[in-house]
Amino acid sequence: MDHAVDQLEHLYRETGPALLAYFRRQSSLAGAAEDLLQDTFVRAIHSFGRLRSSVTPRAYLFGIARHVTLEALRARRPVIELLSEAAAPEVALEDARLEPMRAAIASLPVMHREPLLLKLQQELSYVEIAEVLGIPVGTVRSRLHHAVSLLRQTLNPPSES
């Protein structure tokens, strides 16, 4: 089983930074992001067989990270939404439309916001997002389309007649 540890080390180097960024975007968990990252890989070794048979190891690790995040958020506060707000980037805003867009994304329902952020921030494919969230690919597709439609209306509000 040293082979499993070696493979996980390789995945850690490849996917670790993206997973760490994912944890740090949860504003209430930013301080524990590295511990959550290590916890993700400890859980991955417990289900190494499923990791190897998943669509992509990256998607499977993000799925574990999502569960780790949910558990950590529940432990900190009794009721909290996953990704309750899109975390602000560290660079200064260059476009005045960024803040309204960020607010629009934060106001999306969780079922639409979550796949959108996985797409925009982690650049996962439809199939990978489906594996992370445990939903069909068609559902991922329709939720993403609906999310972008709503955001498009924010940028281009229909003119009142």
Binding site: V5, Y12, H46, D95, H145, R152
Partner: protein
């Protein structure tokens, strides 16, 4: 192409999920159709702005993976797996031993000679004089029936077993 299908394809295009063939066909349609071009431009702008609003430049640096922790977790998992394999086998073995002990405890009594009928035509002179359990004993039948109708041995004629009903005991018949 209807409006809904066009919009769906434009979204897939913005998410990079179209195959190269479909992407080329859609590109051609967008170039030739002003309305499609306008929608494509809106969706593209929305995606660009949304992506810029939620992504931060650069990748954060991470500390090294705690390999010792991983190996410890791996060892715990191995022992847990072995325990899960051994426990059912032990349970089956215990169950088998229990069933075997119960079966041995309730073994039926040893078979006695009375349970075995003697061959029908065997006149066993070495048999005990009185053996009421020997249903098939011709010697017994002969003794019983000669006791009822005593007769000298010289008067004996060859006998045969007459047993017409299973509900009745057989009796011996002499040939004339």
């Amino acid at each position: 192409m209807n409006s809904e299908m066009l919009e769906t394809l434009l979204f897939d295009r913005a998410f990079g999920e179209l195959t190269p063939e479909v992407a080329a066909l859609l590109e051609d349609h967008v170039e030739r159709t002003p309305d499609a071009a306008r929608r494509a431009a809106e969706i593209h702008a929305t995606m660009q702005l949304a992506s810029a609003s939620v992504t931060s430049p650069g990748s954060p640096s991470i500390r090294a993976l705690d390999v010792d922790c991983l190996r410890a977790a791996e060892t715990r998992m191995k022992w847990s797996t072995r325990r899960m394999q051994i426990l059912p086998l032990a349970a089956c073995l215990a169950l088998g031993l229990g069933v075997g002990w119960l079966a041995h405890s309730f073994q039926p009594p040893a078979e006695t000679p009375a349970n075995h009928p003697a061959p029908a035509l065997a006149l066993a002179t070495s048999q005990p004089a009185a053996s009421p359990a020997r249903f098939w004993s011709l010697a017994r039948l002969e003794r019983e029936q000669t006791a009822i109708t005593p007769r000298g041995r010289s008067d004996r004629h060859p006998v045969d077993l007459n047993w017409k009903s299973a509900a009745k005991l057989p009796h011996l018949e002499e040939y004339p």
